[in-house]
Amino acid sequence: MSRSRFSLGVTACLLAGLQRELLLAVRSPGNTINPLMFFVIAISLFPLGGGADTVFLSSIAPGVIWVTALLAVMLSMESLFRSDFEDGSLEQLLLSPQPLYFQILAKVFGHWLVTGLPLVLLSPLLGLLLALPAQAYLPLMLGLLLGTPTLNLIGAIGMALTVGLSRSGLLLAVLVLPLSIPVLVFGAGVVNAALNGLPMAGLLAVLGAMLALALSLAPLAIGAALRISVN
């Protein structure tokens, strides 16, 4: 074929993947906004179900915020591979000559940018709603900043495994929630430590280590799972 073509490398392909994710987020903004709204609404259910007294609320705040963030991230994953699977784009992704590892990273990172990051930024407001003392805001945000990408990567493994099942229902959550307990424990631990004036650098370091581990291994698991799913 004689058309002029500009041969592109891996980076350009990744950028294209990232751009596609962001475009999709812009085109259907619900996928970005809904997890956030879910986060806010679910958190405000707790005072309604439990009780509204400030001491009580601030005692449950670290746990409730982290558990709800975990749920919001997990449930937002549902949109990660689903439509690609259904319309056959996933097959094309697997058949593409570019390395799968990076393509997956680009997809997950794009997803985190549009769902995880806003959640991190919104978290102090929810701390306010649950009467969390102000000195815990920064640790909460730092923990979420390190924790949500890990949660996204773990969730992507679950999603990749279940995307081929038509009626997967809550299977994703069931598979993934147990795996993400360590992140929850250390994440909520950071906030509790800050509340009690304990050092929290160690806990943050553990969260960082988990992120590094997930970054290096999860894409492999995701790739393998996707291959099984399209089979």
């Binding site: 609404i41 405000s44 309604l48 007294d53």
Partner: protein, 257 residues
């Protein structure tokens, strides 16, 4: 009456009518706003308990009541759209959702900034506050649902159904939240006080501000509705004529220059 009602249902009639109405509305609202703001901020005496903080009431209370009223209006429009398929009703319902949500947010923000000096905290789970928050969620839900649809007509109908479901549910939510708060008796008993208890120097500007905010609300609705009409009817003759005229008018000065 019915005839007028049907006429109002036609986007063109609405557009023409509001073209005449808007200048009046601008003037009246501006007047009310000036009087309300000047009186409220400069002449009304400070409250014996809250000092000057209470002046936030002049925004807070009208915003809160408008947020509620807007929902009722949106629901009426939704019903009209579903039952009689009146296009105009849907346009108005569509533009109310974000405006009503805005007023709701304003009530929440002014309320919490008022809460800091009065209650010492930005947020408490008071019954009224909580139900305002839920109302905001419902507004956002209606808007989100409409946006989620690619097809305008399907999105309109879906949003209308949700709005009507909300109508059934809002009183129930209100009632349940009241009940919930009485049972739990929040930490400090901080019910919002009634307007009637205050001297007239305080509530007369509130009266002005109330109508001024109503004016702002109507202006916002009408402007947005006119925009929406132009977008939806952009292929009809009258809109094209109108745009043609606008273009010519904007060109004219440059011709003379």
């Amino acid at each position: 009456m019915w005839q007028w009602f049907y006429k109002l249902g036609s986007p063109k009639y609405f557009y023409d009518m509001t073209s005449g109405l808007l200048p009046w509305l601008y003037t009246i609202t501006f007047f009310l706003l000036i009087v309300g703001v000047v009186w409220g901020l400069m002449f009304a005496p400070p409250d014996y308990q809250m000092g000057d903080n209470y002046r936030i009431i002049y925004i807070h209370v009208p915003a809160a009541s408008l947020a509620l009223g807007a929902y009722a209006m949106m629901a009426a429009m939704a019903a009209m759209h579903l039952i009689w398929k009146i296009k105009m009703a849907d346009i108005v319902a569509k533009v109310i959702a974000p405006v009503g949500g805005m007023f709701c947010a304003v009530a929440l923000f002014t309320g919490s900034f008022w809460g800091k000096p009065t209650w010492g905290t930005y947020w408490i789970w008071d019954a009224r506050i909580t139900s305002t928050l839920i109302l905001l969620f419902i507004y956002m839900g209606v808007a989100a649902l409409r946006n989620a649809y690619d097809s305008t007509s399907a999105g309109a109908k879906a949003a209308a159904v949700l709005t009507l479901v909300g109508v059934v549910n809002l009183p129930i939510i209100r009632y349940s939240v009241d009940w919930w708060n009485t049972l739990h008796q929040s930490a400090s008993n901080l019910s919002l006080r009634a307007v009637g208890a205050n001297p007239p120097e305080i509530w007369i500007p509130a009266f002005f501000m109330g109508f001024a905010l109503l004016g702002l609300f109507l202006i916002a609705i009408i402007l947005r509705a006119r925009n929406e009409i132009l977008v939806r009817e952009k292929r009809t003759l009258w809109v094209q004529d109108l745009l043609q005229n606008e273009i010519e008018q904007s060109r004219e000065p440059s011709h003379h220059a």
